[in-house]
Symmetry: D5
């Protein structure tokens, strides 16, 4: 996810929307849906790993992001790796 | 990491090198260095998260990959995300 | 899926592998997994829609493709569109 | 089709134009022209399959899209695949 | 269409296949299918305009090109332009 | 040529400039300079073939386009193809 | 780092923010963190080498750049080269 | 150099800045620094060859361009070609 | 022009073909057709300016290059720049 | 500089050429020409800073690299940055 906030966004609106994004993300983290979240160094962007039942659920989760209108999201479908010891390999 | 094995690689050599790659990866997973490992669906590629002390250590770890001559590796530096609850946010 | 067969592939092997790919695909079509299949005009490539339970199942299905070593596959995750009448919209 | 609506679009105009787009699309779906419609997960974009008599008809259909000024459309010409069982292969 | 002939192609085979490509193209030109044909200056490539009934016919025509295994073809669907006087505008 | 008209262009100005573009193009078509003109299906863009004496003349012709400030033009130099029967091949 | 200042930025604000960027950079240079700094010829951009303890520290340093909202930063992780005599090779 | 002037630039300011760019360029041409200057056909862009003592001088010369805020400049370092007869080859 | 000679080219053939390329280029330079020739620093590539009567002549000249099978040529059509003092501006 | 050594390179030749590259680089480092040298983490590539009198000298230096036939070099011209304290800013 790459965040592209306009320079002239109202500071109060910006602060509010960023806080709502944080709350939304942390709620999903607590529920085990948003499994990992990292900041890309030097960029207003993140790599995230979400664990969902289906593409429809994933789209619903992403569509609820408060920052959605300012996000460029690329979804990369991942599967279990045959050498992953956490998956019992 | 994208794996590009030549079509005409000797099958025995291929099997051996792939096994050595698996062993190498799993040893690093057990030591907590190779933290996450996922297969990219439909591709002979993976997304991995490694946790190291320095760039020099990371290069050393990656240089030891048995499949190295056949890998195209792109390193994306990640940092703690301010909303990551696992990091105490 | 883009097919890249080497020019010097043995003609018999080529014919056999292409036939096996066709059989594999048609079996999946009959089972409702491989839902759509189109040729890209002028290219040895196709656009396909597969309907699976999970990313793991999708990777398993794609990994079984007889032409796999010669394929460049890009997976685009699709979801139900809110205007799709076939989905009851 | 990728939709790029300006952030400052009037909400009423936006709601109206999105509704008209939905009506336009569903009318074409009912007439068998707009054969398939999927949402790209995480993006305000879709993959669609249209079945038309000619390039001129396709351009006419696409030119009528209410969201046209905000769409980036890429047309990929598709043909019957020799392994498609739905086409009698 | 971009032509990519291997350097080590047998000269006789190369001459024969290039001649067959020329014959094939000129036959289609005479039948009014291959409407225009230009060389891209400095490249072993061409821009061509073909006039066909359907995508299936176009794929059939292109699949018959003797140089097909060595061609990279990109099809751009064109329609009548509203300002084209040749189309009665 | 790709046309990129701003969304907020005054409708009267837009209508006028598009009409002037059409007149300009058709005058050049009648004079045999603008030899071919096609619409790219689904895009506000065209492929055109112009027949001029020199690069300087071509730049002069293109610089006169009423839509010039809103055009992205890419010129691909074409030559006679050795298999073109219209050129006596 | 590529700097992209809007054309209509208030000149006083621009002068102030550029001065603060210079001060910030020179303070880090004096502390040995910002090791090298070069201008890319003909561009409002620079190549910089920073020496930090961790990705988290690097992100913190870069996040403090006064020009941050106008910067496009790409971080390339570098390690000691085995032929570098400055590193004792 | 690619010139990207905003559509809504004040016409007088635009005329003045373009004239100053022309004067600046011609002065450098007369002094033998700006050795060659060509228009890219169909684009508001040019290819230029400058002959300078150092990268620092080149950056100083380019930084003085009146159109600088509206230019995208890419510098390609060139050297004497071993087959160039003008260089005594 | 980018030169891509295979690593395993016979050294004598390579020397001969490079010499023939040099002779061919210098003959065209003496005849005023190949007006400028520069080496791209660090690459086996050049930027060249050719002055010809037509696209057909340019393609003929380029087609005669002894290194042609190993060249990737991109032709950028250039015109007189309105600020070029050498063109009487 | 990106190094692309063929998989089937003779091991002795490979060892010898890599050693000669190291010697060549270190000699230039000692003479102050090759000012900086870093390994890109995870890649057989480096970022280097060379300090030369002219483009001709730089091309000569790079042309002498023993690994040249296997290198992809991109030269980015750098100048003194106005905020660089090492340059007296």
């Amino acid at each position: 996810m790459v965040v592209q906030l306009p320079h002239d966004l109202d500071p109060d609106f910006r602060a509010e929307i960023v806080q709502r994004e944080k709350d939304y993300s942390q709620d999903l983290q607590r529920r085990g849906v948003w499994r990992h979240l990292w900041r890309v160094v030097g960029e207003y962007a993140n790599y995230s790993v979400l664990d969902v039942e289906s593409n429809d659920e994933l789209h619903k989760v992403l569509s609820g992001l408060p920052l959605l209108p300012y996000l460029k999201i690329t979804v990369i479908p991942l599967a279990t790796h045959p050498s992953d010891i956490a998956a019992g390999a």
